[in-house]
């Protein structure tokens, strides 16, 4: 229940259990349901050459890291209250050459 409602009314999130009595927005993962998120990541720097926009690759080889964190108090730098649940790493490449 990531965004509980303060006293079950209005647009404010409840701070603690003593204030929570509803839901403003539910973003939890529900049982036996799959949530899909897609990310498009630009891999370029942009410049103008002869009045044309040119997008140059920042590199050709990349490492993609995807981490799933449990952050009950919302902070990664809180060692007692932050746990990385899953990590995925993959090397991806842009082909060199061609047009």
């Amino acid at each position: 229940m990531p965004i509980p409602q303060q006293f079950g009314r209005g647009d404010k999130m409840g701070r603690g259990p003593y204030e929570k009595s509803g839901l403003i927005r539910e973003t939890s993962l529900h049982p036996n349901k799959t949530k899909v998120e897609k990310f498009e990541i630009p891999l370029y720097t942009e410049e103008k050459k002869d009045d044309k926009i040119v997008r140059n690759p920042i590199a050709y080889d990349f490492i993609v890291d995807v981490e799933l964190w449990y952050l009950p108090y919302g902070k990664k730098d809180d060692p007692d209250n932050s746990i990385m649940w899953k990590k995925y790493t993959k090397q991806i490449n842009l082909a060199k050459g061609g047009k």
């Binding site: 003593y18 929570k20 799959t34």
Partner: protein, 307 residues
């Protein structure tokens, strides 16, 4: 005349005796933390059930009003509830920590220490004093005292072991409720009785609840798991119980864990990721980009996270 004499005897001797007996039946409330700890003492359980006792000691149930070991996050939240909640609410009757009574703490202790119902306001006062001493001054003695108050064997296997009390009767003194009937070799808990709910999710649902606790003058909401278990897991065909995943399949036994435990979180969520780089043409501009697709599947019997 003889009739009146008998009536007088009845009034002066029998009636006071009856009233005295009635007051003896009424369970005495704890006046101090030490008395409440003694009323719910489960230390003798470890003589025969040492493995289970050691498992339980590692769990958050063993420090239910203190919170994670050394951190004491739950104790800190009690203080926040007093400072930012109770003191701020105009009709709560709390202007300073010394005004906090059992009824005020019950919005938290309904689950974190249900046996507080069997204590006088002096115990609430003592708890509050130790919460402030630990949170403000880091007092280790207060931390140790707060950790004596917990959800232990007696709470689940006696006090909370019968839910439908009009149907099955009230939990009896000296009985440990579990999976068998018979004698129990203990000087305090001499009998075992089979509980109809010990292996059912509803046992856990008493605290890991449905949502706002509307029975309070000012409802609180902490745990919502049993609600999501019923309406989002069972409703979709789920058949496992809380105990199956958290006690048996985790192999953690009475060290019932959740989001902080590798045994649980590794099984709870499946994460699939695919990623690749490509060259997109934004009209005429070649544009290097990466596509990352993340799929998360919750395999637990409730929403993740709850709260």
């Amino acid at each position: 005349m003889k009739f009146f004499k008998i009536l007088l005897i009845m009034l002066f001797i029998v009636l006071p005796l009856t009233l005295f007996a009635k007051s003896q039946d009424k369970p005495k409330k704890a006046k101090t933390i030490a008395e409440l700890v003694k009323m719910y003492d489960s230390s003798s359980c470890k003589d025969c059930h040492s493995d289970i006792y050691e498992e339980w000691k590692k769990s958050l149930h063993a420090r239910s009003i203190f919170g994670p070991e050394h951190v004491g996050r739950t104790a800190a939240t009690f203080k926040t509830t007093i400072e930012l909640g109770l003191k701020d609410w105009q009709a709560s009757g709390v202007k300073k920590p010394e005004d906090v009574r059992v009824k005020h703490l019950m919005i938290c202790t309904k689950c974190h220490l249900p046996q507080l119902e069997e204590a006088e306001d002096s115990v609430a006062q003592e708890i509050v004093k130790h919460i402030y001493k630990f949170v403000d001054e880091g007092d280790e003695n207060s931390a140790a005292i707060l950790q004596q108050l917990n959800i232990n064997c007696v709470v689940c296997h006696n006090r909370n072991a019968i839910i439908h009390k009009w149907t099955e009767g009230y939990p009896q003194k000296g009985v440990v409720y579990g999976t068998k009937d018979g004698d129990h070799p203990d000087s305090t808990y001499k009998k075992m009785k089979k509980s109809s709910v010990m292996k059912e999710s509803i046992l856990c649902g008493q605290c890991h609840g449905l949502g706002p606790n509307f029975e309070f003058d000012n409802p609180s909401q902490c745990a919502t798991l049993y609600g999501s278990y019923l309406w989002s897991y069972v409703s979709e065909g789920g058949t496992k119980t809380c105990q199956q995943c958290h006690i048996q399949e985790s192999k953690l036994g009475h060290n019932m864990q959740s989001y902080r435990s590798k045994e649980l979180y590794e099984k709870a969520v499946d994460m699939k990721v695919d990623a690749y780089a490509y060259l997109w043409r934004d009209v005429v501009t070649p544009t290097p980009a990466a596509h990352v697709k993340v799929e998360l599947t919750n395999k637990a019997g409730h929403v993740i996270p709850d709260g």
